[in-house]
């Protein structure tokens, strides 16, 4: 039973981190209709800066710079590439983002080399015990931080002028422009927010019990893609639920893999994608996605 609770809490915690990534993915899709395959590279860029800068300026300043830089890089991608591309279809832009991803990731991989970089976080490998349940401090901080950021985002999305502009532009860009909404600003801010969230996620993907940031970190981030897709690409609620589903599934499958040897080792890594496939077979638009409606 205690194992179950530990796995569940760890799963929710890592799921909340996936949700941060998936949320960024969804915001970008809603604001610009671009499926952003460069998301993993934004995450890696933010995490890399934190790991390199904390010995120089301290952890908190490094985190701040990492988040700001990832937001800036994302905004720059929007401004320099997405906005200028005069293409007929958004699928073309999705492929463009794959190119951007390759460029950024290749350079960062070259910088990182074979190192495993510590994040310099103040929580280290401390654990907290509740009764018989042992939890890493980092997992609790991750859960609380992710929950706070997601709540703040959703409140802003619902109540601020920025949120109203964003939703209006997502629903009908031309009409939003006719109402005076500046679409360029909306889409750039969407990219920046997504970049910042990805950098925070990078931190929590690389702290204990993970050894640190290395060149394969961006692959871990890929698990947030099924989270965004199974929730429905255009739904913020979907991103949250999707993140949690993936996190808990992965944690449970890894934790109990000894009882499921017939599935083979490493089922935890495959599970997110299996869950996504099953859900998409039942609900093609994802759990909360908008169904494509066509008038005949």
């Amino acid at each position: 039973m205690t194992t179950f609770v530990e796995l569940l809490v760890n799963g929710i915690s890592i799921g909340a981190v996936y949700a941060l990534i998936a949320l960024g993915f969804v915001i970008i899709f809603k604001a610009t209709e671009v499926v952003n395959f460069a998301h993993a590279s934004l995450l890696l860029a933010g995490g890399y800066l934190v790991a390199r800068l904390w010995p120089l300026v301290g952890f908190w300043a490094a985190l701040l710079i990492g988040v700001a830089a990832a937001a800036l890089v994302a905004a720059a991608i929007e401004f320099l590439v997405i906005r200028r591309a005069d293409v007929a279809s958004h699928s073309v832009l999705a492929i463009v983002t794959i190119g951007v991803d390759i460029v950024i990731t290749t350079e960062l991989t070259r910088q990182i080399g074979t190192d495993v970089l510590a994040m310099g976080d103040p929580w280290g490998s401390e654990v907290v015990r509740f009764g018989g349940v042992t939890l890493a401090e980092t997992r609790i901080v991750a859960l609380v931080t992710a929950a706070a950021l997601i709540t703040a985002f959703l409140l802003a999305f619902k109540y601020t002028g920025w949120g109203v502009a964003m939703r209006a532009a997502a629903e009908d860009a031309e009409t939003a422009a006719l109402m005076g909404v500046r679409l360029g600003r909306v889409s750039m801010s969407a990219w920046a927010v997504a970049g910042g969230l990805a950098a925070v996620a990078a931190l929590f993907l690389c702290v204990f019990p993970t050894p640190g940031l290395d060149r394969s970190t961006s692959l871990v981030a890929l698990k947030a893609f099924p989270a965004a897709i199974l929730g429905g690409l255009d739904s913020t609620t979907g991103a949250l639920v999707g993140g949690l589903v993936i996190g808990v599934t992965e944690s449970m499958m890894s934790g109990y893999q000894n009882d499921m040897v017939f599935l083979g080792r490493g089922i935890g890594d495959v599970a997110p994608f299996l869950v996504m496939l099953v859900i998409l077979l039942i609900r093609p638009a994802g759990l909360f996605g908008t169904k494509e409606l066509a008038r005949v």
Partner: protein, 256 residues
Amino acid sequence: MADLVVRDLVVGYGPVRALRGVSMRVPSGSIVAVLGANGAGKSTLLRAISGTLRFHRGACRGAVTLGDRRLTGLDAASVVARGVVQVPEGRRVFARMTVEENLRAGGLGRPRRDYAKAHDQVVELFPVLRDRARQRAGLLSGGEQQMLAIGRALMAGPTTLLLDEPTLGLAPLMAARIAETIKEINSLGTSVLLVEQNVAMALSLASHAYVLEVGEVALEGAAADLRAGDEVRRRYLGVADAVEGTLETRTLSRWS
């Protein structure tokens, strides 16, 4: 306050010419009607004024000016900031947002203190928008959606309002109500450029009217003159008794 002037406007969507040299003037404080059949270029004219041609891959030549300021070349948000606001055809309310949020979206470009005042004016004009503030806009009736679309545009504080077929698909009673409202908005000092297929309604509201035919101004004049003469009826409505016979033969020849 300034006149909205369109001069030699040519608009093309790729190889297709939608407007070929259209000129017109909306004097400050007036209601001007633009009439024309489907495909005459009415909506294209409004897109060119509002700066939304790029959403339809269109490009324009010629000039649109408000007073001594040029609107051509500006993006849609900047045109709104100059005080020229459009209510698009088919209402296009944000269906997934509440009525209140729709109004808010309309007033986003304004300072907060102007916002409350504009909001009071709009709900006074359309009390139903206050009653349904928390409902999703998609659940409103067609007429209510049209009121919301007009209210949303008014939130931006326009000096010139562009209306694209505001009575399309509405019950006659609701159409009359919308017509009343347009008159009321105009009486408060806002110029109106009204694009309509409902000729009788448009000519009763407007002081001046233009008839568009395949991208050109085929006819223009004081609304009263157009109403009195049968030129508009003959050219554009095609309901004069005398032409009934020819219409019939044309139909027959097309289908035979």
